[in-house]
């Protein structure tokens, strides 16, 4: 087990190098001069520009700059922005916000997604099942941008104005857990729908398996058949999905955090791309890749817990 984990972590190194180089190249290949972005539509002062180019090695070839970047990263330095702020300062507190948001979303996914999926699978073919299918189809088809603004307007503004119920804040994180409920749900919406359908199909398949029929035939209580035999064996695809989704959610927080003004990395990523703060963009993506790798590793290890036949060495 330990050796397996070590091997997986070692494998992550080339992945990390590859992805950071790719994103580094892409970010710096974006058309337009990042220094021009500092000056808006005015001309950049040539003296200032020359000094900045020197400081940020902008005159050197891409691969050399990447080398400098790697050197700094290894020593724990994410660099500074063109506006003179250390990237690590920008990160301060932001990953927490995004992590809280993603966890809220995963909890919503787990409870609603798995719950609805189970219910639909057990009511297979009946109207409840069909309703779940229809609702999830709708949820998948509404883009986050739309659902975000609509729910914000309905629950944050209209509900408060109409009834005085001030439960869902429109924006910001000043209201503790409540601040994350609406954004978390919006972020999770599409995933909830996917997970519902995944759970439904997966459970329906297991329910038809021979060993379940045997268990029923032996006269085992229905609850035990479902919980012990059917559900546990159909969990693997769901856990895979949930694990991979945590990474996706953190990256997908860009729109949600911007709509709800949550000061997380998603909002920062949006701002930094807009302002051409390349060092921040590369930094955020590097950390996201790391999170993704770790989440996948945890999922793989969970397989062994769910299915004792799977062994790692």
């Amino acid at each position: 087990m330990g050796r397996y984990v070590l091997r997986r972590l070692l494998q992550a190194i080339p992945v990390l190098l590859g992805t950071t180089f790719l994103i580094f190249a892409i970010v710096y290949a974006l058309p337009g001069d990042p220094l021009q972005a500092l000056a808006g539509e005015k001309r950049v002062d040539p003296v200032f520009a020359a000094a900045m180019r020197e400081q940020f090695h902008l005159n050197e070839p891409l691969i050399v700059r990447y080398g400098y970047y790697l050197r700094d990263i290894v020593s724990g330095d994410f660099g500074t922005t063109f506006r003179g702020l250390p990237v690590s300062t920008i990160f301060e507190g932001k990953f927490q916000v995004t992590l809280k948001l993603a966890l809220t979303a995963v909890i919503f996914e787990g409870i609603i997604g798995i719950g609805l999926g189970l219910w639909a699978a057990l009511r297979r073919g009946r109207w409840e099942d069909k309703a779940v299918l229809a609702v999830t189809l709708l949820m998948v088809s509404i883009p986050t941008l739309v659902s975000g603004f609509v729910l914000q307007l309905m629950l944050g503004v209209k509900l408060k104005l109409a009834t005085g119920i001030d439960f869902f804040p429109v924006a910001g994180v000043q209201d503790g857990v409540r601040s994350y409920l609406l954004p978390g749900f919006v972020l999770a919406m599409v995933s909830i729908a996917y997970l519902t359908r995944l759970t439904r199909t997966s459970l329906m398949e297991t329910l038809r398996a021979d060993y379940v029929r045997t268990a029923i035939a032996k006269g085992m209580p229905r609850r035990r058949v479902l919980g012990r035999h059917a559900l546990r064996n159909s969990l693997i695809p769901m856990v895979t999905y949930l694990g991979a989704d945590l990474g996706t959610l953190m990256g997908g927080a860009v729109i949600t955090e911007t709509i709800f003004n949550l000061p997380g990395i998603g909002q920062q990523l949006f701002l930094s791309v807009y302002l051409r703060e390349n060092p921040v963009v590369v930094g955020i993506v590097t950390v996201l890749v790391l999170i993704y790798i770790v989440a996948n590793l945890v999922v793989d290890l969970l397989y062994a817990v769910l299915d004792p036949r799977i062994r790692y060495e």
């Binding site: 337009g32 539509e41 932001k94 119920i165 924006a171 003004n261």
Partner: protein, 546 residues
């Protein structure tokens, strides 16, 4: 302040009762129910994240300027007619418009209790004017004697660290020597870059303390109550300065809330979690008008949008003044501003913006009046149809596509001309090509004032050697009129000369003014007496709780 759950429910019920009783009274502060992060009674103002720390000389964008405007007061401010009046200054006088003597009033104090003295202004201006400090507001000091020694240009070493044109006479007096006479100099002095800095801001001579920008000590009606950490903190909290010379502000505290999305901020405003917005998203204008009524603000702002022509180096149609006039007359400004911009712009009728004194309504006359028949006749008479397709260049990253396409359609329909809109990635591409005389066609252009003088709408854009003269317009008569205006005895007299210069531009039309920008704002029921100045700064000193 953390509001406990119980308290929140009580407040919520009270609100509910109000709503049910359909009680229109704005009475008590309903906002207290939403648990604000900082002081419960604070007026909450929307801003975007300031791009730099809160240092006056390094702030040329509106969000940072908004905050600094609450923390600092300058030598002058601007009244309802956009004319400067003295604030910290007792008098600003000059016999020849070149050497200015500035006297300060007694009684203005820094937040740390020290009096505001002449040296504070000189220190601040020297710091900003020093090229080595890379301050964004550096160029504002270009007209003061000694600037070139501090900013010698690429590859040369500066020969001074202070402006030789600034001299402290005594604690309350200093003199400024300009390179050339400029009667409008006092109009510049209300801008953020001209605020003073206290002694406490400096670590040693000419070097700012690293943490000053997060926790600035100002001389204004509000002071920072909690140091702000740029990049991390989402609010900038300020409280009233109880020791302000002009009296106490009417509100206890101001909280600047940082938003990345204007739509989100607008929803917060509607829900009562925010009090003042001085810019609204275009798609919210009609909602804002109907929902906020009297609390919706619409006023001119300082920006002008143009279509420009390289009149010396461009294509044949760009060089022909009659064709330029025909193009101008074929543009339906009213429809474009109303439909494409949903009323966030208004048709332009002068090269001088309505926010400065010197603007004349309808000055542009026939040339800016929509008249398709006359435009077509003029276009054909000038040989326009034979001059090839008209190119309109614009940058694709700034939301300009829609109005450029609308202009192109106007020209196609009304002039029968061939028109090709030409998007480029970045505005800088057009500017570079224009600089190298390689851009043949027309181009979009915009100008936002640096200081509220008509001169600022003329010299930088159309003067010989002007910093933003991209059309290649050059006229001795024009330059002379500007010089005459600069050397005038008073601001009013100067304006007359500037207007004459303006008339020359209107005759030749190197640029076509298309629209003036508008300030669209709104405020909640919790506040009243909200005024916005030509720099788009809110006069927070006079805002009251409603």
């Amino acid at each position: 302040m953390r509001v406990t759950k119980g308290a929140q429910i009580v407040a919520g019920t009270a609100l509910l009762a109000l709503a049910v009783a359909a009680c229109g009274g704005s009475g008590d502060t309903a906002g207290s129910s939403s648990s604000a992060a900082g002081n419960a009674g604070a007026v909450r103002v929307e801003i975007a994240e300031p791009q730099h720390d809160l240092i006056p000389g390094n702030t040329t964008e509106t969000s940072g300027a908004e905050v600094l405007n609450a923390l600092f007061v300058g030598l002058v401010d601007y009244d309802a007619d956009k004319k400067p009046f003295n604030r910290v200054a007792e008098s600003i006088e000059s016999p020849d418009s070149t050497t200015w003597t500035i006297k300060l009033k007694d009684g203005y104090k820094w937040h740390n209790g020290e009096p505001v003295v002449a040296q504070n202004f000189v220190d601040s201006w020297n710091y900003t004017a020093n090229g080595a400090n890379a301050q964004e507001g550096n160029y504002f000091f270009g007209s003061i004697v000694g600037y070139d020694d501090l900013n010698p240009g690429e590859g040369k070493t500066p020969t001074a660290t202070t402006l030789s044109g600034l001299k402290v006479v005594d604690d309350k007096t200093f003199t400024v020597e300009l390179k050339n006479p400029f009667s409008g100099f006092p109009t510049m002095l209300g801008y953020t870059a001209f605020y003073p800095l206290p002694k406490a801001a400096f670590e040693s001579e000419g070097k700012l303390k690293a943490d000053f920008g997060g926790n600035p000590i100002g001389n204004g009606p509000f002071k920072v109550s909690k140091p702000w950490k740029r990049g991390t903190d989402q609010t900038i909290s300020t409280v009233r300065n109880e020791d302000f010379k002009e009296g106490k502000a009417k509100i206890d505290a101001v909280e600047f809330k940082i938003y990345t999305d204007l739509n989100t901020a607008f929803n917060d405003l509607r829900a009562g979690n925010l009090d003042i917005m001085d810019q609204l998203p275009a798609e919210a204008i009609s909602t804002a008008k109907s929902e906020f009524g009297d609390r919706y603000i619409e006023q001119p702002s300082s920006g002008i949008g143009y279509i420009g022509f390289p009149i010396k180096s461009g294509a044949e149609y760009a060089k022909n003044a009659d064709v330029r006039k025909a193009i101008s007359m074929a543009i339906d400004r009213k429809t474009i501003t109303e439909t494409v911009f949903s009323g966030t712009r208004v048709p332009a009728d002068d090269f001088i913006s309505p926010v400065v004194s010197g603007y004349r309504q309808g000055a542009c006359g026939e040339a800016c009046t929509y008249d398709p028949a006359k435009a077509k006749a003029l276009f054909e008479q000038a040989g326009g149809p034979k001059m090839g397709a008209i190119e309109i260049g614009y940058n694709g990253d700034g939301g300009h596509k829609e109005w450029i396409e609308a202009v192109a359609n106007n020209l196609r329909t009304n002039l029968g001309a061939q028109v090709t809109p030409k998007p480029v990635e970045k505005f800088a591409t057009i500017l570079d090509d224009l600089g190298a005389k390689k851009w043949p066609g027309t181009f979009r252009m915009a100008w936002i004032m640096d200081y509220p003088s008509p001169e600022n709408y003329l010299r930088p854009i159309f003067g010989s050697g002007g910093s933003s003269n991209y059309s290649g317009f050059k006229s001795k008569a024009f330059d002379d009129l500007l010089t005459q205006g600069d050397a005038a005895k008073s601001i009013e007299e100067g304006v007359k000369s500037y207007q004459q210069a303006d008339d020359l531009i209107i005759k030749d039309l190197p640029y076509i003014p298309v629209y003036f920008y508008q300030t669209n704002g709104a405020y909640s029921q919790h506040v009243k007496n909200v005024k916005i100045d030509p720099f788009e700064r809110i006069d927070l000193f006079n805002v009251e709780k409603a």
